[in-house]
Amino acid sequence: MRFTGHMDLHRSLERALRRAGLPLAYSQGFTKRPKINLASALPLGVTAEAELADIWLDEAVAPGEALDRIRSAAPPGIRLDEVTEVPEDAPKLQGAIRSSDFTVTLLEPLPDLDERIAGILAAGPLPRVRRDKPYDLRPLILDLKRLDDDETGHQRLLMTLLTQEAATGRADEVVEELGGSPLAIRVHRVRIHLTSQPANQQTSKP
């Protein structure tokens, strides 16, 4: 599940909802697809425990019943936490998202980690290049702190990164900026922050 891309996660969710037998609303057009919006694409290799999605149904189903049905149909690796009914004119999730909290486990130890963190937080611009485009990483980092090491002694970080269109911070890039290897990490999204907390959420845990 961790290596399921955004589009593939979308399809996995569609199939789960079809198995659940919910009266899904479909988009019109040549290829009909269920109307589902995931709040924010999860980078490949990142796990999460509080993703948000909007799902449109043709007929009302009690949230509790919908939750039960989706839970029993969910594939391994996706757990449903909560289903809430939202008004149809509620703002779209994708526009309402502001930032995300990630916990990062370093599989290779970084010496002087606290100093490195302090260095980043105190830094001015942190110019980088992503897909041939220059950008400044520093404003994308809203918060960065150290957590207790995990039970096997791996160092851990908690970072809050901006998650907006054209302004999304990536945990692996922060680790690289710290001097660590972006490949020797485990990244886990623990929370999505919305600009104004809307009522609509249906939460799943990939």
Binding site: R2, F3, D8, E14, R15, P34, G45, G77, A184
Partner: protein
Amino acid sequence: MTPSEIESRLERILPRVQKPGRYTGGELNQVVKDWDGVETTVAMAFPDIYDLGMSNLGMMILYDLVNKRADALAERVYSPWLDMEAELREAGIPLYSLETKHAIRDFDILAVSLPYETLYTNTLNLLDLAGIPLFSDERSPDDPLVIAGGHAAFNPEPMAPFIDAFVIGEGEEVMIEIVEVHQAWKKSGEPREGLWHRLAHLWGVYVPALYEAHYHADGTFDRIEKRAEHAQLPIVKRIVSQLPPPVTNFIVPYIDVSHNRIPIEIMRGCTRGCRFCHAGMITRPVRERTVEEVCEAIEKALEATGFEEVGLLSLSSSDYTHVVELVKAVGERFADRVLSISLPSLRIESLSVDLMDALKDQRRSGFTLAPEAATERMREIINKPVSSEQLLETAREIYSRGYTHIKLYFMMGHPSETMEDIDAIIDLCKAVLKVGREQIGGRAKLTAGVSTFVPKPHTPFQWVPCDDLDTIYEKQEHLKRHMRGKGLKLNWNNPKETMLEAALSRGDRRLAEVVYRAWQKGCKFDAWYEGFRYDLWLEAYEEAGLAPDFYTHRPRPLDEVFPWEHLSTTLKKKFLTEDYLWSLAGRTRIDCRNQCFACGILPVFSQLRKDTPGEHWQCPEIKSRRVTVVDGDGTYMPQAVKEHRALLQIE
């Protein structure tokens, strides 16, 4: 290496490879059993990447069957793509199963799917990545039993030294028998050869090490010699008398794969007798499932998977007896769902208006038709008689209903083909597109897929020389030059890949050395642009002292003994010879549902036919009395199979 060691090393390399989801398993409906709670562990391998292997129905059938047994488990493995292979080797991770990450070498049985020849080097690579000795006579009792089956196994000789046992024919029953034989052998404490001897008793199982091949001085095949008293000769293919209930709890991949849908086999075998068609010859007789059984299976599979598309599969869907009824029943039963139903392999002349209307589903934008040849003369030679007028009429029907795209499949290189036949392909495609223009104007599109004919063993064209490279290039250039214009598209195959396939399909046991050397030089993924290296193959031929032309272009005399004849499809050589001669005379055969041509199937399987009467089996009913015998070792085998063995005995 233990599963947890493999898993922890994997964590480091997966983020570095393309599509890591190919290597993780964990999908919905995968079967995970207690490793220590079963007697027999089977690794099922498809020697190409996950994206292709996941749509292999044969493997899913056997996976399901083995996992249904309480005392056995089956797990999957596919070939890692080039980047992942490099990472695995670098990190010292042996090839492992997706379900529990056990090393493949720790399984009791490794069962390899071999549907086509360009997977041979990948099979060697798979064994090597697993740390299993490549040659069957170098394996110890601790190594897995390596078995293989699939359409290519009907001439397995180029792979003979690498595989302990081949399954010739259908695997549904014999897979379980192999598991049982393995269990008995494990308890016996016999050496590895003991397992070979036990397997050699099973109907449809070929243990190549128990046979020796002899050749004439000119390199042609002389005969196969048994090296054990009880080894079968010939080895008669395995079939099931009735198709078992279809698999419905398909694994649902997280990542996108080819044919990402529910596959339901509606019918096995084909009665048309196209002379080039390997599948049509080796999968006889025709056995159909009922409409009700198919509908039930779709229902169950939808509930189990949530897929949005169903493929109703067979070699010739419009020949399914109740095809109109089936399409209507499916349409009605699933009317309230958003669902695509595809019915591939429709015949041109029977693609009825009714069927098209019933099929009209949301995703379809066109139809694929396979005339295979562009002139009526050539279609008579290959025994796919349909008039060009009929084709144009069907095309008109399709375009007029608003479908914009028609794909036409052709083969070039049929026997007696000239450049005029190639011109005819161009003319026919343009004529079809013109029909489309008349109906829907500039939106009409036509794609011509022109592949090169590869003569296949066990078919009436097994004697035919394949076109040589220069001729293929010349014909392709001609097509590319003239098949141009708005709305027209041409696809073709790499001629060198055709040459490789042509040599391996009608190869003998000596080619194993070429396969081995080619693999040593780095050949793998021969069906992929990224992997195929014909220059290395040519070096391998050279070093082995063999010439590819001997296998591809040499005209074979009618009385030549072929290196695959000891593997019997039950089609009589006399029947194939006659059909070949008829083809040279431009004589066709009608659909054999209307008239039995005594190909040889029925006498051999008369008892099975008698045991399962009814219209589901398209061969005529059997009235006469036959006796079924049970061998001393308990193997069920129709009397006629024994007689047939005597009949085909090569002295």
